[in-house]
């Protein structure tokens, strides 16, 4: 495990990095950019330090290739290249240096800066070549800092929907060596099944996340071969809290969205943890597709929102559980989907192709959080600004933002 300890300000850097955002502190009083993370501006002693998006450019001033380390994780991955970069703003920072970045000459070597979370789940800075180079994502250090589907085996828990199918095909197209496509009650036909059946290296497997035996059986068969798990199983029903009779729909939602996730975690989690350091094609990531209304209840889908809130809470617990092994948890938040149960909702809605592309890209970038689509991004921005105001906004006009 790379060193995980961070100060509170360092955790803020990590929280942005987990969303793929390279941010540095800028003083709200004097405008000075500073790094490493601080509590007070080193220029004017103001405590109004704001995390602002940072220019992704700098100059590599000096590099080294480490051949020894006091840290066991890095020791096993030597040699490892790091360097000193002068950021566009003038601050100096240390970064992991991609092997395609040329050795700095006099005056420094221009680099492109990006952020990743490392295996400890904390944010780190990576210097890349200014222009893309062939196969650059397969480079050892960058791959270690991503959760790329390339050469990995991916379980998609439910492919009965357009979304599950789009993901299966996209993940395979992006280079996954094998896709396990979960099908509940496989004797029941579903549209799109034939297209999946004819695709190379996509294997349909029986999986019903609402049945413990089913999850246990599949985990026994492929748990040790699952490098990335994308949980697409979802149960959605429109309806408010008091406007609906009985608990059937709400229980079904919880059975899939919450207990289903918990079953998957309990049966697949240990096997994935055990393979987190298993070579180049190791177990790396757990992906949850969550409604953005997990953050704040959408009254028109009140019980669905509640079940996703429960799932989000569980995902946070799982992230902590997985942290010592290095398995990432990626939560992809989406707004209304282009599917039958969101049929009454006005556009914009997220399409299967869009969701699949975003998930694959987020894995490549090693993210822990991704928000997909205009509505979800809007809700997230409002939530970050003021959750109490968002709750009131969602109660107006039936929550149509």
């Amino acid at each position: 495990m790379p060193p995980p300890a961070r100060s509170r300000a360092g955790l803020a850097f990590s929280a942005w990095a987990a969303r793929g955002e390279f941010r540095l502190q800028v003083c709200g009083d004097c405008g000075t950019t500073s790094y490493p993370p601080r509590d007070v501006c080193p220029n004017c002693w103001s405590s109004r330090l704001e995390w602002q998006p940072a220019a992704p450019t700098g100059r590599l001033l000096a590099d080294t290739v480490l051949h020894t380390s006091t840290n066991v994780y890095f020791r096993e991955r030597m040699p490892w290249r790091v360097g000193t970069v002068e950021h566009e703003s003038g601050v100096a920072l240390l970064a992991h240096i991609h092997s395609d970045v040329p050795t700095p000459a006099q005056g420094g070597q221009p680099v492109r800066l990006t952020v990743r979370t490392d295996k400890s789940g904390q944010g780190v800075i990576v210097a890349l070549p200014v222009e893309d180079t062939p196969h650059m994502n397969d480079e050892k250090q960058l791959r270690e800092l991503s959760a790329s589907v390339r050469h990995r085996r991916v379980l998609i828990t439910d492919v009965r929907t357009d979304f599950g199918q789009a993901l299966a095909l996209k993940v395979r197209e992006a280079g996954a060596s094998r896709v396990f496509a979960g099908v509940a009650e496989p004797w029941k036909p579903f549209p799109g099944r034939d297209a999946l059946a004819t695709a190379d290296h996509i294997e349909q497997v029986s999986l019903d996340v609402t049945q413990g035996d089913s999850v246990l059986e599949l985990a026994g068969a492929i748990g040790g071969k699952t490098d990335i798990l994308i949980n697409t199983a979802s149960h959605v029903r429109p309806g408010s809290t008091v406007g609906r009779n009985g608990l059937t729909a709400a229980k079904d939602e919880m059975e899939t969205n919450y207990f289903g996730l918990l079953r998957l975690l309990q049966f697949f989690g240990p096997a994935m943890q055990g393979r987190a350091a298993d070579g180049d094609n190791n177990a790396v990531c757990w992906v949850n597709l969550l409604s953005i209304y997990a953050l704040s209840n959408w009254p028109a889908y009140a019980t669905t929102s509640a079940s996703h809130a429960a799932a989000l809470s569980l995902a946070q617990g799982a992230r902590a559980d997985f942290q010592p092994s290095g398995i990432k948890v990626l939560n992809v938040f989406h707004g209304p989907l282009e599917s039958e149960w969101y049929q009454p909702v006005s556009p914009p809605k997220v399409t299967p192709a869009k969701l699949a592309r975003v998930v694959v890209d987020a894995l490549e970038a090693g993210l822990e959080e991704k928000v997909v689509g205009d509505i979800a991004q809007d809700v997230m921005a409002r939530w970050q600004e003021n959750p109490a105001v968002l709750e009131r906004e969602l109660t107006q006009d039936g929550g149509a933002l």
Binding site: P3, P36, H67, T68, T70, N71, T84, A92, L94, D118
Partner: protein, 391 residues
């Protein structure tokens, strides 16, 4: 604000009783044991009893959860002046500065300055993981190289900017090894050739094995008191000609190619009334040779970037020209934690008082001691230096 007023000289204040608790590669004893042994050695050398020591100054990385405060009770001292200096390689010179003012101003009569650390099998790693907030947030996660990684980058930048060669670094290391061979507790016991230096295995490019110190356990100490008290006690002593100290100099430099000495060296030389040509021995803080080069250049022994040529004209050995790190320095004797910030000062005191452990520097009258400490993030923050003279 106007320019700083010049600092006052140290009339009638001296340092005496250099002690070293012989180093060991690993020790199961805690830092308290090593510091206690240094105090006992000070007592034996000086003939002073614990009750005579009314000032106490401590530096240590491995003393936690204790500080100098806990140590007073542990060792049974009741000082009226107490300091704890967490400045790593600058600790020795800074301790001397603090203690000298205390004696000069009457806040203490005799100050025991001690630095000591243990080295248990895991203590170096655990020190690195909690070394500083900036290193925890922004340095250690990048490969966990610790000081090897940081100094590899500084060395690379220095070589690229000034053309300093590995051969030049090697000359310093080889000379220090020769000085260390007469020191019985030095970690390194065999002579080192330039070829061996150049061909050693890579640690973090461009650093190879003999560019890096070996962590060990040990302690160093000395006493600061009035000249009259030293005479009355019959102790050989050295005078303080001048001292400087600076922290976080040149924060705007994107990578460290110079240290705070550049800001303060004029004051150092002018207060002492001597020039580099008058110096008989130099002790630099030498956890990596690039830092010795930086100190020698920044203190004015040669121009910036001129060290290749300068080094070619010096032997750096105790029997030659510009004796440097006369007991082998940390690179050959070992880095005993914070005692690494004392080793140069204590050995300068030995040489200037005619009681060397290893080979003597003939007719040593003026010694320069320089300190450099604490890679808080990407560079050493603390710099200090002192010019000392034989009585």
């Amino acid at each position: 604000m106007a320019d700083a007023r010049p600092s006052q000289p140290y009339p009638g204040v001296v340092l005496a009783a250099p002690v070293t608790v012989p180093y060991r590669r690993y020790s199961h004893q805690p830092a308290h044991w090593w510091i206690g042994c240094a105090l006992r050695a000070l007592r034996e050398v000086s003939g002073l009893e614990p009750a005579d020591i009314d000032g106490f100054c401590v530096s240590s990385f491995t003393l936690l959860p204790d500080t100098a405060v806990g140590l007073t009770q542990h060792v049974g001292l009741s000082p009226r002046w107490l300091d704890h200096i967490p400045m790593g390689g600058a600790s020795g010179v800074v301790a001397l500065r603090r203690a000298a003012r205390a004696v000069q101003c009457g806040d203490a009569r005799v100050v025991a300055c001690v630095a000591g650390d243990t080295n248990q099998v895991n203590s170096f790693r655990s020190m690195l993981t909690s070394f500083s907030r900036f290193s925890q947030d922004a340095s250690f996660p990048y490969g966990g190289g610790g000081p090897n990684g940081s100094f590899a980058l500084l060395t690379r930048a220095y070589m690229d900017t000034y053309g300093t060669t590995r051969e030049t670094f090697g000359r310093l290391c080889v000379a220090q090894r020769q000085n260390a061979l007469a020191v019985p507790f030095a970690m390194m016991t065999r002579p080192l050739t330039l070829d061996e230096y150049l061909d050693a295995r890579v640690i973090a490019e461009p650093l190879h094995l003999f560019d890096c110190v070996m962590p060990c356990a040990g302690a160093e100490g000395f006493l600061v008191m009035s000249e009259d008290d030293a005479k009355a006690q019959g102790l050989p002593y050295a005078r303080i000609l001048s001292t400087i100290e600076r922290h976080n100099a040149f924060p705007e430099d994107p990578i460290q190619l110079r240290g705070g000495w550049v800001l303060d060296r004029d004051a150092l030389w002018s207060q002492a009334g001597v020039t580099p040509a008058a110096v008989d021995l130099v002790q630099t803080y030498d956890d990596y040779p690039v830092i010795s080069v930086m100190q020698l250049e920044d203190l004015g022994f040669c121009g910036k970037g001129e060290f290749n040529d300068f080094a070619a004209e010096q032997t750096f050995t105790n029997d030659g020209t510009l004796p440097h790190n006369t007991s082998g320095g940390q690179l050959s004797t070992g880095q005993a934690g914070a005692a690494g910030g004392y080793i140069g000062l204590v050995d300068a005191l030995r040489q200037l008082t005619g009681q060397p452990i290893g080979n003597p520097v003939p007719d040593a009258k003026v010694g320069l001691v320089s300190g450099f400490g604490m890679i808080n993030f990407d560079r050493g923050v603390c710099t200090a230096a002192a010019l000392l003279a034989a009585a």
